[in-house]
Amino acid sequence: MIRSLIDKCVARIARIKHPYLLVTVLTAGCLIWPAMALASTTQYFGPNWVMNPSQTAWTGGLAVRINNYMYRPAGDRGITAYQDSSGTQFGFDDTTGNPVHSGSSGGTSAYSGCFNYSNNYTYPTLCQTDY
């Protein structure tokens, strides 16, 4: 019964143009999409990352963030940075404290990341964005 159903299904798919490519794509999509939704959506560089002088590191794509953190040795100024789809930058902190933290973007999508606002290499650095 089940075998018959599988055969019917396979036969129907086989009549489609590029059937097995379609199955491959659908299978990958069906696994990746829910996994992305369910898995931790934290993206980061570090925790033992070297930041170049004046380097900006964007942790993720255009998305609504929950938190953005930067850890680096005190004395090297760090900024949590944001940039929305129109290219406008907004909402960053600037301090020698540790960690540097910016909270929720309140539903606004933006690229998130960190900026080494110093002329030094900064190590060890963690730049983490929670979506």
Binding site: A28, N67, P73, F92, T96, G97, N98, S102, S104, Y123
Partner: protein, 235 residues
């Protein structure tokens, strides 16, 4: 016909396996975003009095009159002091002592912001800016307050630069601080200073500060260079 059906089933199974492999490869790529390069310069941490000891508000000896901390403030300080895996212990602020947490500033600036703070088990002071709606706007933890750096600042703009809410500078100050002035465009403007905390809201369309001038109780003046919320390289 039967042979063809078996071949189709085999191809179908192969397609499923290929899809699974692609999903695994994408997962592995996502997990591999971490970058670890074990070289680079490291800057020495400034030496001074641990921030929690330099602030009367946490030592119970003074005339401070702090408000009770909100649930949003407690949550923000807890999140800020949560240990993150792999971070050097030197960089972690320690656990917040929420029994001493306090609202140092209330309803300041256009956003009706509050500054909440708590000492930590490492003697640091963690501070968070909370909006009038209870949103956590960001914060940091200060390790030391020194003779040459008696204030710890955050320069923030919680929405768009030059639009929406204005930028502001806020932070904590040691007991030695008498007054704080913020330098903007060559002019000096007094900041609110109370409960070892300060706040100054920048004029609209202004995101640049040349410095913070701190007058100590012994009459000396310390100037801290701040800079600007600078344009960043494009994404």
């Amino acid at each position: 016909m039967k042979h063809k059906s078996a071949r189709n089933r085999l191809a179908f199974a192969a397609s499923l396996a290929a899809g699974l492999l692609i999903a695994l490869a994408v997962g592995a790529f996502a997990a591999g975003r971490e970058s670890t390069i074990p070289t680079g310069a490291r800057t020495a941490e400034p030496v001074g009095v641990p921030a929690a000891k330099a602030m009367e508000v946490f030592n119970g000896t003074g005339q401070s009159s702090t408000a009770q901390i909100s649930n949003a403030g407690t949550a923000a300080l807890t999140a800020l002091t949560t240990d993150r895996s792999g971070v050097s212990p030197d960089l972690l602020p320690g656990q917040a002592d929420l029994t001493k947490a306090a609202t140092l500033l209330s309803d300041v600036g256009q956003g009706g912001w509050s500054l909440v703070a708590a000492p930590t088990t490492k003697g640091k002071v963690c501070q968070e800016v909370i909006s009038s709606t209870g949103a956590d706007q960001g914060g940091t933890c200060t390790a030391y307050l020194t003779d040459t750096r008696p204030v710890s600042f955050m320069l923030m703009d919680v929405d768009y630069l030059n639009a929406g809410q204005p930028a502001f500078v806020t932070g904590v100050a040691s007991d030695d601080v008498q007054s704080i002035a913020v330098m903007v465009g060559g002019m000096s403007y007094p900041a609110i200073l109370q409960n070892n905390a300060f706040f100054y809201q920048l004029p609209n369309n202004q995101t640049s500060i040349s410095g913070i001038e701190t007058t100590l109780k012994n009459g000396s003046t310390v100037r801290t260079t701040v800079g600007a919320l600078v344009p960043l390289p494009s994404q």
